[in-house]
């Protein structure tokens, strides 16, 4: 879900005053929350970066051999593996660089090696760390070890750890991996173009036409936010898979691959783009349209010179959000990507499939690049945005136009049908016995306890995580935003803090999760005890979704006149009184929005937590992933629908609170 707030804090010129005790307390708070961001974001990312630079290499100078004669009793001279290799050239320089699982057969250095000869071999390391395997038994150290030729055949050297860029060279020289960069960018660009076009058309219809049922469409269009991104993948399999209802619509093309990724991406990114562009379009100034009308500008000209420029920044912002979401998403390509390599899935394949943590870190670093670029360009664009809405603006009210209104209505119906159809398909899949051979209804797909993946406990864990995230996240985010916005002085610190708060948007969840393993599962880390607990899931989820929540809080705080602070100060009121008596009540709607945003996202998040959950903290969204992975697609759909219904319920509760008790505190508006 994207809430509106794409602004930098306006650092207005304020009179500089002596830092009071209040300010020092505020700075203290800011430091605490800043420290949170450093520990939960900066440090893990740094550790991951260093992991990507940690390489493995066979150090041939660290091994020495001695060979006996045919009697096995008289020993020849001691020789180093490095010297032998210089003579024989058995192993090339490229073969010496390896990964953490690398093995190099010792027999490679003995051209005349025969495994049934009476010759004996000795091997030792020249350093304490030099390691080799005899079969699968690990040997280390500088002591000579003697083997007959039959056993020596099974000796393999292990690589030593070093630092360097070899992992990156390996990455780019592996076609399968390098291809993923192209694939990911291509998919992200195509999805962005489609999503933005559709979202713009919808937002345009809702703001510039008199089509009926606007409220209903608004509701339907935000539905995809409430489901994990795996669910559209599952729905597409049922709709267009080899046994799908509409399989023929694809004209023989397979849904497993780019087509599936694009359709699914449009589904789950549409609400994000729609909400941002809707915000941008709704701040239209009717006077511009009146001017255009009096200048007798054509409809098209008005559209290109007034409507589009006015929403330009919203469109750019939405495009970057969609691009980042698609390129960093992991659930959808995993379910429906087929053989189409994508960066986020590559991380999973490297780490889970091959236990190659270093290469996983390399892919993560590469995945950060486009996301950070998109983010930086977006920030730059936002800085140039000027306020379009002046105090004298006249709100635009669309006029009736039967043809245009009908067209907008038809298009909104079409998109709504697509969204509802996907959800309905999942619901059907969840209650059917054995698709497509036995279509009788059943509830057995909801017997999660019999499936691998986590059972009903995972579902309640998810709710616990969502509640904790909403609670702690709202407090941390709002307090942080307050400090940035309202603290005086210490400009540099506030700048750094703001930068840290904006970072998470560019960091893919999978990267964050992996960084957390490296950082928190280090026994030297005093925070190690939170590894494998609910706490680390809450921390990672709050951090992962920090940016949008932070921006929402900032927007709300900006609406408050800084005079409040001055008045409070001159009345000698401590800031916490002002904070709890005025600031929090006034910003309560925004705080509740942050809470529901965090709740919904905590329910659906997969990528940031997939490496971090433990048996006691399995999550429903991860269970969807695992059940689909095991081929239990119907139960996966069932669990996905449980998440959906939970989120719908949460939204209803939120709406009730916002309408009831909250409305009273907001009566002044």
């Amino acid at each position: 879900m994207v809430l509106e707030a794409p602004h930098l804090p306006l650092i207005g010129k304020r009179l500089r005053q002596q830092a009071s005790r209040d300010d020092r307390i505020k700075l203290g708070f800011m430091a605490v929350i800043g420290l949170y961001l450093v520990v939960a974001l900066g440090a893990p990312l740094f550790v991951m970066l260093s992991k990507s630079l940690s390489t493995y290499r066979f150090e041939l100078s660290a091994f020495e051999f001695q060979v006996s004669d045919e009697t096995g009793a008289n020993w020849g001279p001691v020789v180093r593996a490095a010297d032998l290799n210089r003579e024989l050239g058995a192993v090339t320089e490229a073969e010496l660089s390896s990964n953490s699982d690398g093995r190099l057969a010792a027999t490679k250095f003995f051209l005349d090696f025969k495994f049934r000869s009476p010759v004996h071999y000795r091997i030792r390391g020249t350093t304490d760390d030099a390691a080799f395997l005899v079969g699968s038994t690990l040997e280390k150290g500088t002591e000579w070890r003697e083997y007959d030729s039959g056993t020596f055949r099974r000796v393999v050297l292990r690589p030593a750890r070093a630092l360097g860029f070899t992992n990156f060279t390996t990455y780019f020289s592996t076609p399968a991996l390098a291809q993923s960069i192209y694939n990911s960018v291509l998919m992200a660009v195509i999805s962005t173009v489609f999503t933005i076009s559709i979202a713009f058309a919808l937002a345009y219809g809702l703001t510039r036409s008199c089509m009926p049922l606007k409220g209903l469409f608004r509701g339907i269009l935000t539905i995809p936010i409430l489901v994990p991104s795996l669910l559209p993948g599952i729905a597409l399999v049922y709709l267009f898979g080899n046994q799908g209802i509409f399989r023929d619509w694809l004209l023989g093309y397979s849904i497993y691959g780019p087509i599936g990724i694009v359709i699914g991406s449009i589904f789950f990114t549409l609400p994000h783009a729609f909400l941002i562009i809707l915000t941008a379009l709704s701040i239209a100034d009717a006077r511009h349209y009146e001017a255009a009308a009096s200048l007798k500008a054509s409809k098209w000209r008005t559209f290109t010179t007034v409507t589009v420029p006015g929403a330009r920044f919203g469109i750019v912002s939405a495009a970057f959000v969609v691009f980042t979401l698609v390129i960093t998403d992991f659930g959808l390509p995993k379910v429906i990507g087929g053989q189409y390599g994508m960066l986020a899935v590559d991380i999973y394949k490297q780490v889970i499939g091959q236990q190659n943590f270093e290469m996983g870190a390399v892919v993560s670093v590469i995945l950060l690049v486009p996301a950070v670029l998109a983010f930086v360009v977006d920030r730059h664009m936002q800085k140039r945005q000027v306020a379009l809405l002046s105090a004298r603006a006249v709100p635009y009210t669309p006029k009736r136009n039967a043809r245009a209104d009908g067209l907008c209505f038809a298009f909104a119906c079409l998109v709504s049908l697509f969204i509802l159809g996907m959800i309905a398909m999942c619901q059907i899949a969840a209650v059917v016995k054995f698709w497509p051979y036995d279509l009788t209804l059943t509830s057995k797909n909801f017997a999660f306890d019999l499936m691998d993946g986590g059972g009903w406990a995972a579902y309640s864990n998810s709710i616990r995580l969502a509640l904790l995230t909403a609670l702690f996240g709202s407090v941390v985010v709002f307090a942080g935003a307050y400090m940035v916005e309202k603290a005086d002085g210490f400009r540099l610190g506030r700048g750094v803090f703001h930068f840290l708060a904006m970072m998470p948007m560019a960091v893919p969840g999978m990267v964050l999760g992996l960084a957390y393993i490296f950082f928190f599962n280090n026994p030297a880390n005093p925070l190690h005890p939170i590894y494998g607990t609910m706490a680390i899931l809450v921390v990672s989820t709050v951090t992962h979704f920090y940016t949008v929540a932070h921006l929402t809080a900032l927007t709300a705080l900006k609406q408050m006149d800084p005079e409040f602070e001055s008045v409070a100060a001159s009345l000698k009121q401590p800031f916490h009184r002002l904070f709890f008596r005025v600031t929090v009540p006034v910003c309560l709607p925004a705080i509740l929005n942050i809470a529901i945003y965090l709740f919904v996202n905590a329910m659906t998040t997969v990528s940031a937590v997939v490496f971090l959950y433990s048996t006691d903290t399995k999550l429903a969204s991860v269970a969807v992933l695992n059940m689909d992975d095991a081929g239990d697609i119907a139960p996966a759909a069932a669990m996905g629908m449980m998440i959906f219904y939970t989120n719908v319920a949460a939204k209803l509760v939120h709406a009730l609170i916002a309408r009831g008790p909250l409305a009273r505190t907001q009566a002044w508006r």
């Binding site: 699982d101 691959g257 390599g341 943590f357 095991a630």
Partner: protein
Amino acid sequence: MNRRMLFVLAGAVSAVLPAIAAAETQLTVYTAVEAVDLDRYKATFEKAHPDIKINWVRDSTGVMTAKLLAEKDNPQADVVWGLAATSLLLLKTEGMLEPYQPKGVEALDPKFVDKDTPPSWVGMDAYVAALCYNTVEGEKLGLTPPTSWKDLTKPEYRGHVVMPNPASSGTGFLDVSGWMQMWGEEKAWDFMDKLHQNISAYTHSGSKPCKMAGAGEAVIGVSFEFPGAKAKSAGAPIDIIFPAEGSGWEAEATAIIAGTANLEAAKTLVDWSVTKEANEMYNAGYAVVAYPGVAKQVEHLPDDIASRMIVNDFEWAANNRAEILKEWQKRYDAKSEPKS
């Protein structure tokens, strides 16, 4: 707090205390065994040894192995019970396993026991490569069911075969390493080159191809026998085929993590894991178990699976895994453009 509350609390405490005193040792046991089986394992073991309590940490083989390796410098597990033998070999080469000769291990089939003395791991059961063939879809397309691995390269199966990706699935790797051990590397690559032409998708899990065949998403799924039997019981129109050349297989095994604080309890658990009683328990899900003569036929599976298993050199597979996967990815993963 009023008096009644205090009374209730005292009652609760006195009820709980003896329970705590009895369950003296808590073992953290990492496992990849199917979730449905875990309760049974725990209950049966704890009945035999009421002084030891099992705390499961369960995930798929890949995640579990990654987790164990990630925790190398600070192991959280006492025992691994039910993880692929090749994964345990990987841990062994990192020096993470405590060698131990369980009491009664002599009774097991030697191919289920680590070759070193004392062994670092002892096997429980095996999962064996098999094909799941969807008879309904096969008939619609006019195909004949395959009977051997070589059959899978026939042009008629083009786009109808699904197999697990060895780079992300242990089952996928056991297929590849099985072919290499049966035919030699060169012939195996030859075979895979041709097979690749017929593959419609490489999945990330080993049981998924069978379930895809069961659901008609594919006609032939390269998988292993257990999900086949399960899908068939659930009503999937599939035949489970064991290729004529023989099948690669993987053992599920048990090992003690070096440096555990509960070594005695860990040994007790491993001792028990090789007993006849334990093997009878494994037989509920697995057609082949480590204790000879225990296995009874599993529904939908033939009774001679054990004889179809190839001679498997786990050590060779583990030590060549990185090289094989590198080559595999070079050959087949790069061709990621979808077939049109």
